[in-house]
């Protein structure tokens, strides 16, 4: 397998921050930032699914027009670290399988490229369907294609026969396939046991660059960062907050993010008589989210399922303790430093679980919480230099030897030191 002399990378992703969804794909942008030191050039192809309820006839008209407009309107701009950014809208609608959507993504990139392959020796796709497939279909023949899977909706992908078959092909054809954590990897290994030894780990990078000026002294200003939807457990959080505030009227809660539950949460806060203590900040840019973390005391993250839990690591990087559910990713990212970082609680439907977790954490804070240690450990696991090294090993391996073997789970973890 050829190891290119140039360190050019193309990154294909269905998520990347936009004005419409400023949080979307922040982890991909972090990956672009983190890996700047181990590559010469990079181009991000952000294939953004534009959904709309349309008829079959309407969809056909859109697909035709899309092709014309794409040839005329897609161009390269720039993103962080001077990397190129090509924004590629892809029309989709409900009823399309993940495989069908992946074909649309792939075809759209093909139109943008004018039928030529991506001119980079390394192509890295995010999520098997759609980024991985799009990368494989548009990479040049000698390119090595890597894929990182992050998706919480992976089980839904694998339930669709055509998508499952396409997914298997993505794993088989890629030079390296990674899961962002065990929560994702276990699903893949169960679905494709024949590829178990090909599926390694590649964590998301987190910026540990901006420390908090003054340490947290009391856990009064609660913060939630993420979507306001059912999966995130935000309704339970509000109920738990109300119960804790009944004991301590100085408590406040800030929701950062937006989603379908926002109006219901606001109404419930009013009904509970705590509207004056609850703030809805809406979507904010990542820099503003970091500032908010510096102005709050405790991140409460009661999600039902996370494949990694970027926000949790970011909060500790920002110097705040966390109270987080064991929902897949967080117990893995915080392994060995659970108490130092704050506290972990069970995933259940009882707000008192959050209340009890908060009381336990409050009672041992700050003496039995060692945020400095937690931050150091996490920086070593997920800081930009560590994740950059992990990417360099697979993208541009030393020319000695047979080439880039996929990173086995243990090897990947060991390589993160």
């Amino acid at each position: 397998m050829r190891v290119s002399a140039t360190r050019d990378v193309a990154i294909i992703t269905p998520w990347y921050p936009t004005r419409q969804v400023p949080f979307g794909g922040a982890f991909v942008r972090a990956m672009v930032e983190a890996t700047a030191s181990v590559r010469d050039r990079a181009t991000v192809f952000h294939c953004d699914g534009w959904g709309a309820p349309v008829s079959r006839r309407g969809d056909r008209a859109i697909v035709r027009a899309h092709r014309d407009l794409l040839a005329r309107g897609a161009r390269k701009t720039s993103t962080v670290t001077g990397a190129g950014l090509v924004y590629v809208p892809v029309p989709v609608h409900s009823g399309l399988s993940y495989a069908e959507a992946a074909r649309r993504h792939s075809a759209a990139v093909g139109v943008v490229l004018g039928g030529r392959p991506i001119d980079a020796p390394v192509v890295h796709g995010h999520v098997g369907l759609r980024g991985g497939w799009t990368a494989l279909e548009n990479a040049r023949p000698d390119a090595r294609v890597f894929v990182t899977e992050h998706a919480t909706f992976l089980p839904a992908v694998l339930r669709q026969p055509d998508s499952r078959a396409m997914y298997e092909e993505v794993i088989r054809r890629s030079a390296g396939f990674f899961a962002v954590g065990e929560a994702v990897r276990s699903v893949l290994v169960e679905a494709f046991p024949q590829h178990a030894d090909r599926i390694g780990f590649m964590p998301n990078p987190v910026d540990f660059g901006v420390p908090r000026e003054r340490p947290v002294t009391a856990l009064r200003r609660w913060l939630y960062v993420g979507s306001l939807n059912q999966r995130k457990g935000v309704a339970l959080l509000l109920e738990a907050f109300a119960r804790c505030r009944a004991e301590d009227p100085a408590l406040t809660l800030t929701f950062v993010g937006d989603g379908p539950l926002r109006a219901a949460l606001a109404a419930r806060a009013a009904a509970l008589g705590i509207a004056d203590a609850v703030t809805f900040a809406g979507f904010v840019l990542p820099t503003a989210a970091l500032e908010l973390m510096h102005r709050h005391d405790l991140l409460v993250h009661p999600s039902r399922l996370e494949t990694f839990g970027m926000t949790v690591v970011e909060a500790i990087a920002a110097g705040m303790p966390v109270l987080v559910t064991r929902c897949g990713g967080p117990e893995e990212t915080l392994a060995g430093i659970e108490d130092a970082a704050g506290g972990l609680i069970a995933v259940d439907e009882d707000p008192d679980t959050i209340v009890a977790g908060y009381r336990r954490l409050r009672d041992r804070f700050p003496q039995q919480v060692d945020l400095r240690h937690a931050r150091e450990v996490l920086a070593d696991r997920y800081g930009y230099p560590s994740v950059a090294r992990a990417h360099r090993r697979v993208w541009f391996p030393d020319p000695v030897g047979a080439g880039p073997a996929p990173v086995a789970p243990e090897a990947a973890l060991n390589s993160m030191e």
Partner: protein
């Protein structure tokens, strides 16, 4: 810079509101072409942004008047007739629910698209008269997929020799405006790597 936003699908409102506000904040002119104002009632455009409702300027056309009469005027009359005396409040609520849950949706998803499919040329003449006439848009921003057929046909109508604005899928993805533009920026080959300095910015 004069920018025309196509936002007929009302699918990416935050981006449209934000980007149109930026155009006027930068000293330009922004026109946003939407389909139904009702869908945008929860968002606020910058006062300097001109918002044009396509269904509004189409409303006077005979097919749309007939459709509107069948969908709205006739049912309103029936609800009024049925809602006399003690049933008045109930009939009003039912009429409002009918319009929100059925009539508006049929209008958006069936009537307006069908009209544009059959009388697309007429519809586009209206846009030409109400939006394009006298304006000189440098940039057309297509913001959602339902806008694509309409935008593509309108651009095609002018041909390469006529109005030939830059097309983009977001303000951030457009080439810089002429005075600041890099010489080859609009046609740069996206398959080639960028001049990435390889440093964290």
């Amino acid at each position: 810079m004069q920018v025309l936003f196509f936002a007929l699908g009302a699918r990416r409102m935050r981006a449209v509101v934000d980007e149109s506000a930026q155009v006027v904040a930068d000293g330009g002119q922004a026109v946003v072409l939407i389909d139904h104002a009702k869908l945008w009632r929860n968002v606020s455009f910058d006062p300097a942004v001109r918002v044009v409702e396509l269904s509004g300027i189409e409303a006077d056309r005979l097919p749309m008047r007939i459709g509107h009469g069948l969908l709205y005027d006739v049912p309103r009359g029936l609800f009024r007739a049925a809602g006399r005396g003690p049933l008045r409040q109930r009939a009003r609520r039912a009429a409002a629910a009918y319009e929100v849950r059925l009539a508006d949706r049929v209008h958006r998803r069936v009537l307006a698209p069908s009209y544009r499919l059959v009388w697309g040329e007429v519809s586009q003449s209206l846009v030409q008269r109400h939006v394009l006439d006298g304006a000189s848009f440098d940039l057309v921003v297509v913001t959602d997929s339902p806008s694509m057929p309409y935008a593509a046909r309108l651009l095609e109508r002018y041909g390469p020799g006529g109005w030939n604005p830059q097309v983009a899928f977001g303000l951030d993805y457009a080439a810089p405006s002429a005075p600041d533009a890099a010489p080859s920026a609009p046609d740069e080959d996206p398959s080639a790597g960028s001049a990435d300095a390889g440093r964290r910015g």
